[in-house]
Amino acid sequence: MRPSTKKLVTNLSPGTKIKGKWHQQTYQIVKLLGSGTIGSVYLALHNQSYVALKISDQPSAITTEVNVLKAFKKVQGSRLGPSLLDVDDWIITKDQSYSFYVMEYLRGYELNTFIKRKGYEWLGILIVQLLSDLRELHDQGWVFGDLKPENVIVTDAPPRLRLIDVGGTTKQGRAVKEYTEFYDRGYWGLGTRKADPAYDLFAVAMVMIQVFYPNRFDKGPNPYRTLTYKIKQSPILRRYAGCLEKALLGKYTSSSEMSQDLSKIILKRQQSSSQNTKTRSQPRRNNSTVKRQQRKQKHYQWEESLGIAMVTALFTIFYFVIHML
């Protein structure tokens, strides 16, 4: 909530024309894409093509973000974050002026929507992609900072997860510039807010967790126990438990370490599923093995997994009852 005089940037109506003071380019607002603490991002039209425009009443914050985008540009092509197209000021009256920058517009799906549509097996793969981008970013001396589903996008054909908002990107060794509580290790009592690679890796683990808990959850009296419990509750997350717990506790010092562990888990699953295909073509195999392996295959559909989880739960309860008697 901000005083009414400053609400304009979050409330630009479609059709509004924004003309830059310095470079004289005009952008026509199409719709609001998102709002954050620093400003708002709009879809806009410029020379008949779509661009993303971030506008804020804090010129210093805009300058800082532009600095980050420029630093990325220097080292790499356009892979880390969207490419920067323009930076300017929009002067409405003498007392009312805003700063903005313009980026390429990345069209894509939200992470959770994509995974729901294409299947949970995509989660691991997208996260491995994310980790490779983070590795590059870390190698350049940065930390992404405000890593959360809202700040990534999955572009299609081929599916690729990309970082889109660099508002939290901080030089390593400094205090993280911007963060969101649920993804912040400080909030969970599991570390400082000093920017180091492990800070991002904590957030990566939280991004994976929230896929299964889109409404998020409270940290409770023992935050780490809450997290491990939530991981165990989800049959798919449980497979990644070892890797997730290491990331949450800050035991990975680089994203390649985490990526390796994650890849191993994904590979193991793919191997087991390819073994399944083999067993089908070898009908002479002993019956019970086949059954067991077929059951394994069904793991990939989470409804089934849930069923198994329930059976297991019942069995456990049964086991305890027997013991108590």
Partner: protein, 246 residues
């Protein structure tokens, strides 16, 4: 450029002052003394409209060269740290703008530079923000209506110390509440480096309906540790701050 100490008062309140001098005038005075005054107005969770009393929140911060926000209690943690950081950047930018004026010899500030040239200036501001020493005096309104919000205030202050202690520069915090029993303010926590485990000192008792914001602000102005004022800090020229957009 010399490293300095940034002095801030962070006022957390939920209503309008009803006793003593006008808090905005006191806030302006504090600003003259090189202290920035930030104000956070806390709303009730069920409040949908901005109540009347909170109008002064913006005025006090403006007069004090600081930042103001009006938020629901649950968003307090992030707001407290954001307001503090933003005000710090603002103060430092004021300082850097003054240096720029000396170099460029006219009424220039960062916004008068083309966007391409602001980057380097901002890097200097960021460097200073990371390394400067910071003194934050937290002034908490503990009048009756604030009572049930105090646990959240406590949490958000612990969180603030977590955020600020991730910086390279040193931090000092002190917490005062108002109204005090016989004086305008009551010391909850003397100057310290960290605000973890402040639960034990946080007050459970609250006093009646009066909210003497002005007198309280005036009192805490003189409770900062570092008395030597640095040249350039705390400008007396308001226009610098206005141009940063607040």
């Amino acid at each position: 450029m010399k490293k300095g100490t940034i002095k801030q008062i962070l006022l957390i309140t939920d209503g309008c002052s009803n006793q003593g001098e006008d808090p905005s005038s006191v806030s302006a005075l504090a600003h003259q003394h090189g202290i920035t005054v930030n104000v956070i107005g806390v709303l009730e969770d069920e409040q949908s409209e901005q109540p009347e009393g909170l109008e002064e929140v913006e005025d006090i911060a403006k007069a004090g060269g600081g930042v103001s926000r009006i938020v629901y209690a649950k968003a307090l943690s992030q707001t407290v740290q954001m307001v503090t950081r933003q005000a710090m950047t603002q103060t430092l930018q004021g300082v850097v703008n003054q240096e720029l004026q000396q170099i460029l010899g006219s009424e220039k500030s960062m916004e008068d530079l083309p966007p391409e040239k602001r980057g380097e200036v901002m890097e200097v501001v960021e460097d200073l923000g990371e390394t400067s020493n910071l003194e934050v005096l937290v002034l908490v309104d503990t009048s009756a209506s604030m009572a049930h919000k105090l646990p959240t205030v406590k949490e958000s202050l612990e969180d603030l110390s977590l955020s600020l202690n991730a910086r390279t520069g040193n931090n000092r915090f002190a917490i005062y509440s108002f109204p005090g029993k016989k004086q305008p303010v009551h010391e909850i926590m003397p100057w310290t480096n960290e605000l973890s485990n402040i639960a034990s000192v946080f007050p459970r008792l609250t006093s009646g309906g009066i909210t003497p914001t002005g007198p309280a602000l005036k009192d805490v102005m003189y409770r900062f540790q570092s008395t030597p004022k640095l040249e350039g800090w705390g400008s007396t020229d308001e226009t610098i701050y206005e141009e940063t957009g607040y």
